[in-house]
């Protein structure tokens, strides 16, 4: 543990060092370009690499050598060693970045018009975003915070190279030795199992080595006996029985060995999976959503599996085959060193030629692997979309598509197999060349009477035993590559920093329900703020309706309150305590959420409702579902609350799911209730019912509700209208209607809509 913190500090130091070095280099460069500029005046300097815009001379090659320096009241832009433009800060405002494709523009509003500051390729996106934000702040407050530079300059502590975005593992130097060490640490509790398996294998090998010896006795003393009449039949039987005993023993020992290995292997994989899974659960939504569900599944399942294979199969095999090689080789050498040399001599040639072929083969396999995965993707695509395919009558087209891929796959496979067949036989031939030498040599000896036929049988058996490990060793590189790739991916997840972490002194808070947003700005990335300077005070027990067009940041606001993300600027307080000082457990246990997309876990309806409160009584569960309007339909199901839902179970309709998840949130008995389009998929009547029950429930709870259907919010004490990331209007329904602003427009638009469908008008 202590060691880990040490390395983190080191990396920070390197990053600081890098920032300092870069800054110095930049300042020096600045000095060369503009000697009047003194170092002390420069607040921040940064580079850019693209011309302001493309023109005929540089249509695709737009590279320039550019520098920007912020001094007390001016932003000066240099290009190719000359002053390019000056932007006095007093007339400039709203510094921002505009993302292009493969490029990013830093710009501002100058004297009411857009003005370009500089342009760079996409690797500058985060940097420019951070700097532009801070220039704005500097313009307002006169302070410039350079903290962000360390984060941008985070480096791998080994090679000093920056990490690829979104990862805290340097792909260039995932240290192979380090990985082995860490894996061994994971395998350590099972070391006795592994050692036992190696010992067992040693015994098996030793016993196996007896077989050729017994064979020799069989051949020399009995079959080719010069005095057949002297053969004692009982001795003959003993030899046969010994042969059988050897066979039985090795098989029994092998069974034992694989049991030991399976046992250890499964425990290793469980440990690993727990580590990966635990880590994924700890990661914030922002990190998780960077990877696809499929990718995470692969990491948890197949990558850990590959590691298990390595620990339980490849690693012991490696030890065993090495042992075997040494043992057999020693025996051969002791027996006859000249003969042994003859046999082993083709091995290096084969290894070298194998390595040469290896690269070619790997490319081919890679190709075929990708073809396979493509064809299974196509299949998966077609089958999961079979309704669409049939509905549009596209069966034939899809069949053709699959046909084409199958044909390509076939061609690649044929080519691969042809290649492999040739290579394999040539290699085998070279491997076997030793045997010809052996035959010649041994034959001579037998003819000369120096060796018996039995001895030769024994010797050939040993020879075949030595080729196994030799061939196996040629395969090692491939397994190693596979394994290291998987391991690196798994450890990448395990090593990832938890970005929304509890502070050490985080408190458990008994929430009353006051919520304050103070100057909150937030963006999912550095370049664009989804929410800008939100200020909002909510009293306990208030019901706040949040209204606005799609994409204005309604759900983001709520995600921030639940602390799914940490905010960049400002603070969110619950009962006057900053969210970051409250333990996440206590925060989330007192917030109940009903989301637009409901999710039911595989299990019974009962278990789903009781999910948030495991010790809930049956009465509580039923009460909650009654309030949520779920009770009625649940009782109509044959298995009522014991009905299995989720992936393989009974399929509930969208509205039914919604009601179950409302019940779940209610049972949670939260101090703060969040309804994110909670009743959107219900019909007006059911919605009305639920609204009424919710009304009783909401009474002394702080409630935040997002709804597009504005009638849902008629009971709200206050409405907040979001527009372009800011709070555009606040007030009650009546106040806002009088204002005739955005809200008024939305209400009018909806009235028009409902007038078109006569059914709804009746309800109004």
């Amino acid at each position: 543990m202590a060691k880990q913190t040490e390395t983190i500090l080191d990396a920070e130091q390197i990053a600081d060092e890098r920032v300092r070095e870069r800054t110095e280099a930049l300042l020096e460069k600045l000095h060369d370009v503009d000697s009047q500029l003194s170092h002390e005046d420069v607040i921040v300097a940064f580079t850019y690499d693209l011309a302001d815009r493309a023109d005929d001379e540089n249509l695709t090659d737009q590279r320039v050598d550019g520098l920007v320096a912020l001094t007390k009241d001016t932003l000066t832009v240099y290009q190719n060693g000359k002053k390019h433009k000056e932007i006095p800060l007093d007339k400039a405002e709203d510094f921002r970045t505009t993302p292009g494709v493969g490029s990013v523009i830093a710009e501002c509003t100058y004297d009411g018009h857009d003005m370009l500051v500089c342009r760079g390729d996409n690797s500058h996106t985060a940097e420019y975003g951070a700097i532009m934000k801070r220039i704005n702040r500097y313009n307002e407050t006169g302070e410039f915070n350079t903290e962000f530079m360390r984060e941008l300059n985070r480096v791998c502590e080994k090679c000093g190279r920056p990490f690829p975005p979104g990862s805290s593992v340097c792909p260039r130097c995932v240290d192979k030795k380090g990985i082995m060490k860490r894996l061994l640490a994971i395998a350590k509790p099972y070391r006795w199992h592994l050692i036992l398996s190696v010992v067992l294998f040693f015994v098996i090998t030793a016993v196996n080595l007896l077989t050729p010896y017994l064979n020799r006795i069989l051949v020399d003393d009995f079959i080719k006996s010069e005095t057949p009449e002297a053969v004692v039949i009982s001795q003959f039987i003993i030899v046969i029985i010994s042969l059988a005993a050897v066979n039985v023993t090795t098989n029994l020992l092998s069974i034992l060995r694989s049991r030991v290995l399976v046992h250890a292997g499964n425990r290793v994989i469980v440990t690993l999976r727990e580590m990966v899974f635990g880590k994924i659960q700890m990661m914030s939504i922002s990190r998780i959503s960077k990877r696809t569900a499929g990718e995470l599944m692969t990491r948890v399942n197949s990558d850990t599996n590959r590691i298990r294979q390595f620990i339980t199969a490849t690693m012991p095999d490696l030890a065993e085959q090495a042992l075997m090689l040494i043992a057999v080789a020693t025996m051969l050498f002791i027996y006859d060193w000249r003969l042994a040399l003859l046999i082993i001599f083709p091995a290096p040639i084969v290894s070298v030629s194998f390595r040469l072929f290896w690269r070619k083969m790997r490319r081919m396999w890679n190709k075929s692997w990708h073809m396979d995965s493509k064809s299974s993707t196509v299949l998966h695509d077609i089958f999961s979309g079979i309704r669409v395919v049939k509905a549009f009558g596209m069966e034939e087209r899809e069949a053709d598509r699959f046909d084409e891929i199958s044909k390509k796959q076939r061609d690649i496979r044929i080519e691969n197999e042809r290649m492999w067949a040739i290579v394999w036989h040539i290699l085998s031939f070279f491997m076997g060349i030793g045997e010809f030498f052996l035959l010649f040599y041994v034959g001579n000896k037998i003819l000369g009477g120096e060796m018996t036929l039995g001895e030769m049988t024994q010797f050939s058996a040993y020879v075949s035993m030595i080729y196994g490990p030799l061939r196996w060793i040629a395969n090692i590189p491939r397994r190693l590559v596979d394994f290291l790739t998987s391991t690196a991916k798994v450890f990448e997840i395990i090593d990832e920093n938890v970005d929304v972490a509890d502070k050490e002194d985080a408190v458990d808070l008994k929430i009353k329900g006051t919520i304050d947003f103070e100057n909150v700005s937030f963006g999912y990335d550095e370049t664009t703020d989804v929410l800008k300077k939100i200020n909002l005070h909510i009293e306990p027990g208030e019901m706040i309706g949040i209204v606005g067009k799609s994409g204005v940041g309604k759900s983001t606001l709520i995600n921030l309150l639940m602390r799914m993300y940490d905010i960049g600027e400002g603070s969110i307080k619950v009962d006057g305590v900053d969210l970051r000082d409250i333990s996440q457990d206590s925060l989330r246990s007192q917030i109940g959420v009903v989301l637009q997309e409901t999710f039911l876990f595989a299990g019974t309806i009962y278990a789903n409702i009781a999910y948030a409160k495991q010790d809930a009584t049956r009465d509580e569960v039923i009460t909650a579902s009654k309030i949520a309007g779920a009770h009625e339909f649940i009782m109509k199901l044959p298995d009522a609350y014991n009905t299995t839902v989720g992936e393989k179970g009974h399929t509930l309709s969208g509205g039914e799911r919604q009601r179950v998840s409302i019940a779940r949130a209610l049972l949670h008995n939260p101090r703060i209730l969040i309804l994110d389009e909670a009743t959107a998929s219900l019909d007006t009547e059911t919605e009305h019912q639920i609204q009424e029950s919710l009304q009783k429930l909401i009474k002394d709870r702080t409630t935040l509700a997002i709804a597009h259907r504005l009638s849902t919010l008629r009971n709200a004490t206050r409405l907040i209208v979001l527009d372009k990331g800011t709070i555009a209007e606040t007030g009650t329904h009546d106040e806002l209607m009088r204002q005739k602003g955005i809200y008024y427009g939305l209400v009018m638009a909806q009235r028009q809509m409902s007038r078109m469908s006569p059914k709804n008008t009746a309800k109004e």
Partner: protein, 223 residues
């Protein structure tokens, strides 16, 4: 007439506003482009004005936002007889089919990323406006051309490329090599390749067939 491309049944439901030399002038200011266009009046043009009516707005906002609010993204002037003139100081261009039709079907957006209209082809404009548009596209979609591939190394799921571009050597990293290489065909059937690196930068190989043998061998596996 471009409208002819739309099947009869769909016509009139949603109209695509096409911008061309007859109804639109491209302007330039501070290195950014804008437009003045005379278009048919649509329902949207009426709602546009609404935010201007209310004044409560400015109370909440910081004064820094004020200026931007005062100048709408598009100024709409009613010319009568069903026509409006739209004036935008700054427009943004977006390719609808960036890989296979880089100079056709260009969406023209205002500052709020609302679509003003579509340019079917840059050929619908005369010089110097065509060049203005073309340069704006090249500015936004910065895609250097790769002349030679010097080295490709693959390790642990990442691949490291060293290439010779027109401005010199460039090294970059791809996260998932197979998925980061996009094949497109130009109209005349050449195979064009786009490479997307880890930072989101793009590189182009305009004609794979024309690559030298050594370069081709390095990229062959991924094609």
């Amino acid at each position: 007439m471009p409208e002819n491309n739309i099947p009869n049944e769909l016509r009139g439901i949603v109209d695509i506003v096409y911008l061309n030399r007859d109804n639109c002038k491209i302007t330039e200011k501070n290195g950014f482009i804008g437009l003045r266009a005379v278009l048919d009046k649509s329902d949207d043009d009426m709602t546009e004005k609404e935010p201007l009516e209310k004044e409560e707005n400015e109370k909440d906002d910081g004064d820094s936002k004020k200026k931007k609010k005062d100048t709408p993204a598009v100024e709409t002037v009613d010319l009568g007889n069903g026509k409006v003139e739209k004036i935008a100081e700054r427009i943004f261009l977006s390719r609808a089919f960036p890989f296979d039709m880089p100079y056709e079907y260009i969406s023209v957006l205002d500052r709020d990323k609302k679509e003003i209209g579509f340019i079917r082809s840059l050929d619908d404009f005369d010089e110097p406006e065509r060049t203005l548009l073309k340069n704006e596209l090249e500015t936004k979609y910065y895609t250097p051309t790769i002349k030679r591939i010097l080295q490709v190394k693959e390790r642990y799921g990442f691949s490291y490329w060293k290439c010779e571009c027109e401005f010199g050597e460039k090294t970059f990293t791809l996260r998932d090599t197979f998925r980061s290489i996009i094949k497109a065909h130009t109209k005349d059937g050449r195979e064009r390749i786009y490479i997307l690196d880890i930072d989101g930068n793009r590189y182009e190989i305009p004609d794979v067939e024309k690559l030298d043998r050594m370069s081709y061998k390095k990229i062959e596996l991924y094609l």
